[in-house]
């Protein structure tokens, strides 16, 4: 259960959003500039809300009234960025292993094999991020986030920087992830088609406000963003 109730002023733009979701995949849907990324940055702990609270299950991550702010590195929330952000000085194997090392988790070859199989990245382990295609980079970023064993996975338009063909390549992996990885996800996108395929619950954002919450049926039928 993810509960968010935050407000944040960012220059001229303000976010005032509250929702609670129990879904396996909570979709954050809205046009660019609706405040989707700022909102998940707050969930990740990268951005501090001016007022409000964020909690997962019974654990409070942010509560401005009681001056609670758990820093990003202690939240155990995975984040797959639109631009992958793989570490350029490490190879794929070291990138995948990074979260495990930082969280001081025991080495788990079975888990690693499972994730590399799930994402089909076993053949890339010795490469550097600079030698990967956009789709491969995004799959490695997914694997890296998963192997840190997060309790929640945030995905910020993970297909946003890919062309149509590559999107079709990655989408099945995301669906497999939803069905097999057993980690709740928050999926950000402005693409209604993607949302319909992936999200189990949808939050529609417009200019920093939640305007609708429900199942996939609340998404606009046309492919155009809200």
């Amino acid at each position: 259960m993810l509960r968010v109730e935050v407000s944040k002023q960012l220059g001229e733009f303000s976010i005032e959003a509250s929702f609670a979701s129990e879904g396996r995949v909570t979709g954050l849907f809205g046009a660019s500039g609706a405040g989707k990324t700022s909102l998940i940055n707050m969930i990740a702990g990268l951005l501090r809300p001016d007022r409000g609270s964020i909690a997962i299950d019974t654990e409070t991550l942010d509560d401005t009234a009681n001056r609670v702010h758990v820093p990003a590195h202690r939240r155990r929330i995975g984040y797959v960025f639109q631009d992958a952000r793989l570490f350029p000085h490490l190879d794929v194997r070291q990138n995948l292993d990074y979260g495990r090392r930082m969280n001081r988790l025991a080495d788990d070859p079975a888990q690693r094999a499972h994730v590399t199989d799930l994402l089909d990245i076993g053949g890339l382990l010795d490469r550097r991020p600079g030698q990967l295609s956009g789709g491969e980079r995004q799959r490695v970023a997914l694997g890296r986030a998963l192997l840190a064993q997060p309790r929640l996975l945030l995905l910020d338009e993970p297909l946003g920087s890919l062309d149509e063909e590559r999107k079709e390549e990655i989408l099945p992996y995301l669906m497999r992830l939803r069905d097999e990885a057993n980690v709740p996800m928050v999926y950000v996108s402005h693409d209604a088609g993607e949302m319909r395929q992936l999200a189990t619950q949808v939050v529609i954002l417009k200019r920093g406000r939640v305007i609708a919450f429900g199942g996939g049926e609340i998404l606009p039928l046309a492919a155009s963003p809200a």
């Binding site: 990003a72 590195h73 631009d83 490469r127």
Partner: protein, 231 residues
């Protein structure tokens, strides 16, 4: 004609030791300050920045004199260090290293600061979401990515320390075997009748050391770049 005399050898060895110690001690401090200036906003940041650059614009003889007043036997800090810790800088090679470290500090810090500023902060954020505490983000992402700048700063600082003259001779004088570096040895030789050939020999040595430092920095930088971009 090409044979180096024992005094010249001593000056060369001393210069190398002074510059190496100055650079090695100044580097961790330089990295810390470069990181603060690149990544943090704090009260008095402009003053810290100016203070670090001061030796670059102040006459070296003035810096040397200030060092003498502060770290000399009767200086405020110097007396305390000598009485309590037994550390003496005045007229010792350690004082030469201190003078060289301070004089070369701005040149050491600048490339490190620039290379830390150039590290993509979004990578640091990504490391945070993967569970890395701030100091581990620094150790595993920021510092490795800024390494070319760190090496460039070290080489630049070392080269400056080797050539330092004004502050060193003012602070610790020109004692053969203790504080007479290549620079002060050349200075003494030029003042001596028939010292020209010896002075020229030391000039040649300076050129060789400077060239070697530049080639080494180029090599390090290229290696680091290759590491960064795969291939």
């Amino acid at each position: 004609m090409l044979e180096l005399s024992p005094t010249e050898w001593t000056a060369i060895q001393l210069s190398l030791r002074v510059a190496a110690v100055a650079t090695l001690v100044a580097t961790p401090l330089g990295i810390a300050i470069a990181w603060l200036l690149a990544r943090r906003d704090f009260w008095g940041k402009a003053v810290v920045d100016a203070l670090i650059h001061l030796p670059l614009v102040l006459p070296p003889v003035a810096t040397g004199y200030l060092l003498l007043l502060t770290f000399g036997r009767r200086g405020l800090v110097g007396a305390w260090l000598a009485d309590h810790l037994g550390i003496v800088f005045a007229f010792r090679w350690t004082g030469a290293a201190l003078a060289c470290g301070i004089m070369s500090f701005p040149l050491l810090v600048r490339p490190i600061r620039l290379s830390i500023e150039a590290v993509d902060r979004r990578l640091e954020q990504a490391a945070g979401t993967l569970g890395a505490a701030p100091w581990r983000v620094f150790a595993t992402v920021t510092l490795p990515l800024a390494l070319p700048g760190v090496l460039a700063g070290m080489v630049l600082g070392f080269a400056k320390a080797i050539g330092e003259f004004g502050a060193t001779i003012t602070f610790v004088s020109n004692i053969p075997g203790e504080t007479q570096t290549i620079s002060s040895a050349i200075y003494s030789l030029i003042q001596t009748p028939d010292g020209d050939t010896a002075a020229l020999r030391l000039v040649a040595v300076s050129v060789v050391i400077a060239m070697a430092a530049l080639v080494a920095s180029e090599w390090f930088a290229r290696r680091a770049l290759r590491r960064l971009h795969g291939n």
